[in-house]
Symmetry: C2
Subunit: 263 residues, 2 copies
């Protein structure tokens, strides 16, 4: 149970010499299949009650898939903004860089989530997105998306909801960073991942983290040693079993209780 379902890389002949940027490109035959099913756009396609015509239009939107290997950049800070990306499979981290070298992981994104919303504001990507494992994304050209959402109010509303959800998520992290102690933060992190795995039909209690202690620490505003100690402590408390990146939640309620002990 190491790597969860990981569809194959699709394109034979794209150069991947540096293993660095770009990712491999695949152009999907439009209409080959329904947009949502083929692209797994859990979030984007939620407006469930579209007409078939509308479905087709949506289908045309996302004809490009690109695949990435661990530590490839999906985009970098400063890149020109053209598209949002829907993660088809795999996972990414996003991070912002401060001049003085500091960096802050702002999120971990998994299949079905939309990435790149921060760039709309300036037409320049404000953060960078890095693959945590082999991953495939659907590219969604933003001006096409905007045009389409003018024609399909349900899509428009959906897009707004996605953006708003990101705002709510970020504010949740502000709460976490601003008022939780180390172990509460880690508990919140684990529970959040548990839910998200569950929402994808995977186990809520057993999963593989794809990021390092360092990256978790950056996300949670902690040093990696503190993260490691918190993991060990949860293990001693018999709340979880942790073997490096393999997590098993033994006492879910216990973890949740952790969160409600205010300082």
């Amino acid at each position: 149970m190491t790597k969860p379902a990981m569809s194959v890389a699709l394109s034979p002949d794209a150069d991947d010499a540096t293993g660095e940027t770009s990712g491999q490109i695949t152009r999907r035959k439009p209409h080959a299949s329904a947009a949502c099913s083929s692209c797994n756009l859990a979030e984007l396609c939620l407006p469930a009650d579209l007409t078939t015509e509308e479905m087709h239009q949506l289908d045309e939107l996302s004809t490009l898939k690109r695949s990435f290997s661990r530590s490839d950049y999906l985009y970098r800070s400063g890149d020109k903004f053209r598209s949002l990306f829907a993660i088809h499979s795999g996972s990414f981290k996003t991070q912002i860089l401060h001049e003085d070298g500091r960096e802050q992981v702002t999120g971990f994104q998994m299949a079905g989530e939309i990435i790149g919303l921060d760039a709309i504001s300036t037409d320049i990507h404000a953060c960078e997105a890095v693959a945590l494992e082999n991953s495939v994304v659907c590219e969604l050209p933003f001006n096409k998306l905007e045009a389409l959402s003018r024609d399909i109010p349900k899509l428009q509303r959906h897009l707004h909801k996605i953006m708003s959800r990101e705002i709510v998520r970020d504010q949740g992290i502000m709460l976490l960073l601003g008022s939780m102690r180390a172990e509460e933060r880690l508990a919140a992190f684990l529970l959040n991942h548990s839910q998200r795995f569950a929402a994808r039909g995977l186990s809520a209690t057993q999963f593989q983290l794809r990021m390092s202690r360092q990256e978790i620490g950056s996300y949670l505003g902690l040093k990696l040693e503190t993260v490691s100690r918190a993991f060990s402590h949860f293990q001693n408390e018999r709340l979880i079993n942790v073997k490096v990146r393999t997590i098993e939640i033994i006492n879910l309620a216990g973890l949740q209780a952790c969160l409600n002990n205010s300082r």
Copy 2:
């Protein structure tokens, strides 16, 4: 203080006995004046190059103004979402409440800024907005705004930019909370306010803060004493003069330098 969540929705002539909810309502004669100038929608109206017809449509959108006194709620966590609000004058704070009583200030908003974006995602306000002083807001019914933005692509794009900007702002705060020490946080806070005052034609170096040390602390993830000490320290360093809520920045470059000293 703080009555915990829940209260009436906002009806026109609601009683204001407690000085608590609602705010007073003014219905503007549509067309009485140009939307942007009358409403001061710095952010919303930026799409500068609209036709007069489009301007008129925008004008119709925001016919409702409401005024609030210090510590009045603009909306509360759990309220049904109907409208965004453009702050016409004055200022607000937004905060989220955690079950266990913890609360986290997520932002301070001033004239020209849009408030309420977080509620789009669920149709329920996720946080609450409280006036920091006497303030006036323009109510922007969201479904009208959506409808209009289908007709006016520039408005659509603008709305997207506003939402995206909020995401970028929140991520900046994540960086602050996740990787800055107390004095850096306060420096960032002061510089941010300085810029925002300047952008409104006010002095960048002398201003009045409208929030308490406690509120600043909540926003910055610090205790009020720590905030107070940081102020005192800046004063001793001759970076600022501070007399309670009256701030004068003496050495702006010095404050900025503060920010670039990584840990």
